[in-house]
């Protein structure tokens, strides 16, 4: 009983750490699920049957879920605010159980999908395997215990015998959660090297991305939710226009990406620019070239756009029951289009800040870009991607040349 007070505090710390990250994710998934599994959509058993029939799709969706849920699951599992409490004379099991239960709340949508589709055992397997996967993703470096847990996750995901899969997931979770707990206080020393080594461009871009992820996760959640909605529209539009050829569906995906990604990403890229502005004193003090700052912002925006494109393509491919070739085609097209859109919109947002007309300019540029992408997709099909990328590169080049203007304006402000 004396450990109950500690467990309560640990649960509060986990939930407080995870809530800001989990709320937009869960809301976005709720919106997507409402449409995907609505009256005219798929049923969970159908969706799972499609996943079970295609190991590639299963892999992609599991990887997608692990990536999407990682920040929230990690925060729930090993909140940094609970590190201090480790010195207390309490069994580690209290920490593992509190963190594990809270992380399972984050896994709830994934468990719900498997539960509605295949029953309680499948839901438990999915939840434990996702928990183990997230714990492993939060653990560096790996040793034998972590490798064994990863094998357990693989067996749980692809195993054909449900009791065996459940057993593998349980073992994986029991191995991975303590490993994540053990390694959590060490992660900062590895992370201090930055996402992309010592490259100023990569370090700045990762700083901006972290600013969005930690400071304004809701704007990213909205962008991803809009991308998922566009992905849901893709199969409906393809069926409505009787499109069968991969090239036609690819062109449709490009058109949808142009129209749907820009509005969602405009909020996210504004957050990138705010993160850039917040770090501008540091860049000034370290003599970082304005061009590098502009390119880093474009890279951060591009990566957010690419993520939105990936969501659009994944949801669209799932809705289309797409074979591997078409799914890969959609991913490449939507990711490239999303990257260009994100990078160009960052340029527009920076120009808006440097322009007397400010906000108008960014909004107009987003609208023009969406119209241009949609028009090109309808006129030139998949070839329009080349034009979009070309114009995007030119636009980013212009923005980097004008970067010094913005630096001076910010300095004066």
């Amino acid at each position: 009983m004396r450990h109950l007070a500690l467990a309560k505090i640990l649960v509060v710390l986990s939930m407080r750490a995870a809530y800001p990250l989990a709320a937009p994710l869960l809301l976005g998934i709720f919106l997507v699920a409402t449409v995907l599994f609505g009256p005219n959509g798929m049923s969970p058993p159908e969706a799972l049957a499609v996943m079970r029939a295609s190991p590639t799709l299963m892999t992609v969706l599991w990887a997608g879920w692990l990536m999407l849920g990682l920040p929230a699951a990690r925060a729930a599992l090993v909140p940094s605010s609970a590190t201090y409490l480790r010195w207390l004379p309490a069994p580690r099991l209290v920490f593992h159980l509190a963190g594990g239960v809270c992380a399972l709340v984050v896994e709830a949508p994934w468990m719900l999908l498997f539960g509605r589709g295949e029953g309680l055992l499948s839901a438990s397997t999915a939840g434990l395997a996702a928990l183990a996967g997230h714990a492993l993703a939060a653990t560096r470096p790996w040793g034998a215990q972590e490798a064994l847990a990863a094998a357990g996750v693989g067996l749980a995901v692809f195993g054909h015998l449900p009791p065996l899969a459940f057993g593998a997931a349980l073992v994986a979770a029991c191995l991975a959660v303590p490993a994540a707990f053990r390694r959590a206080p060490e992660v900062s020393s590895g992370a201090a090297r930055g996402f992309w080594g010592r490259s100023p461009l990569g370090a700045l871009a990762s700083t901006y991305l972290l600013g969005v992820l930690r400071g304004e996760p809701a704007v990213l959640g909205r962008a991803l939710a809009l991308a998922a909605l566009a992905g849901l529209i893709l199969p409906l539009a393809a069926r409505g226009h009787d499109l069968d050829a991969d090239t036609s569906i690819g062109a449709l995906a490009l058109g949808l990406a142009a129209v749907a990604l820009a509005p969602g990403l405009s909020g996210a890229v504004a957050a990138v620019v705010r993160a850039e502005r917040a770090a501008s004193w540091l860049c000034d003090a370290t003599g970082t070239a304005p061009r590098t700052r502009a390119l880093a912002a474009a890279l951060a925006g591009g990566l957010l756009g690419a993520t939105s494109g990936l969501v659009l393509a994944t949801v669209g491919a799932l809705g289309l029951h797409a074979p591997l070739a078409l799914a890969a085609r959609l991913v490449v097209l939507a990711v490239a289009s999303g990257f260009a859109t994100g990078a160009v919109l960052v340029g527009g947002a920076r120009e808006a800040e440097a322009s007397p007309r400010r906000g108008d300019r960014g909004m107009i540029e987003a609208l023009v870009w969406a119209a241009f992408g949609a028009a090109m997709a309808s006129l030139a099909g998949e070839l329009s991607l080349g034009m979009v990328l070309g114009v995007g590169i030119v636009r980013i080049g212009t923005a980097t040349r004008r970067a010094e203007v913005l630096r001076r304006i910010r300095g004066a402000a």
Binding site: R2, V12, L13, Y84, P89
Partner: protein, 208 residues
């Protein structure tokens, strides 16, 4: 020998921070660990406090291991981290109550609260306290019960002059009561005030 640390290894981010580090301290001995920034002083204390796991080696307190997940001897260890980063939503009173419950000891008495000057913010959440106030509150929690090993990480950071004097007095009292104290510090004056044996952590090894 009360505290014995033997061949402690710890690798962080690919760097060997502790390399077969070893140290012995008698009951009531105060040891001040000096070293450059990033030398591994905090890492050593975090391992002894159970926050981090060592890659290799062992540490015992009165013959019982204090490392690993099932270290029963940890009930006799007190720890104040450098950032004194107790959960932000807890008040010092709640933190002390938690520690007291887990150690099965009485909560701090009124005299200790007065001595550490905790009354003014005893019921305010940690999130709203200054570093010095947090440090005093964590110190209060750390010395509850029959503490045989007290680990203090940069304890004078954030403390005003009166706080440093009070801390030195507390450490001296604990020392007299037989508590072994390990202090990671950059402050030679404080080390002298508490009559500490000086050791230096360099290239992962502890040197006297």
């Amino acid at each position: 020998m009360t505290l014995s640390i033997v061949d402690l290894d710890k690798r962080l981010g690919g760097r060997l921070v502790l390399d077969a580090a070893g140290l012995s301290a008698a009951r009531g001995e105060v040891v001040a660990i000096f070293g450059d920034n990033g030398a591994g002083k905090s890492t050593l204390l975090r391992i002894l406090a159970g926050v981090l796991d060592a890659d290799r080696g062992h540490a015992t307190l009165d013959g019982a291991s204090i490392l690993g997940p099932r270290a029963a001897a940890r009930a006799r260890v007190g720890y104040v981290p450098e950032a004194a980063d107790a959960p932000a939503h807890l008040s010092p009173r709640e933190l002390s109550a938690l520690v007291a419950a887990l150690k099965r000891v009485p909560p701090p008495d009124e005299a200790l609260l007065d001595r550490l000057g905790l009354r003014a913010y005893w019921d305010r959440p940690f999130g709203g306290l200054s570093l010095g106030q947090r440090r005093r509150s964590c110190l209060c929690a750390a010395i509850l019960g029959d503490v045989r090993l007290l680990l203090l990480d940069e304890p004078t950071n954030g403390l005003d002059a009166a706080g440093v004097r009070e801390l030195a007095g507390l450490v001296t009292e604990r020392r007299a009561a037989g508590t072994t104290v390990l202090v990671a510090t950059h402050d030679p004056g404080f080390a002298e005030a508490i009559g500490a044996t000086r050791v230096r952590l360099s290239a992962g090894k502890l040197e006297t």
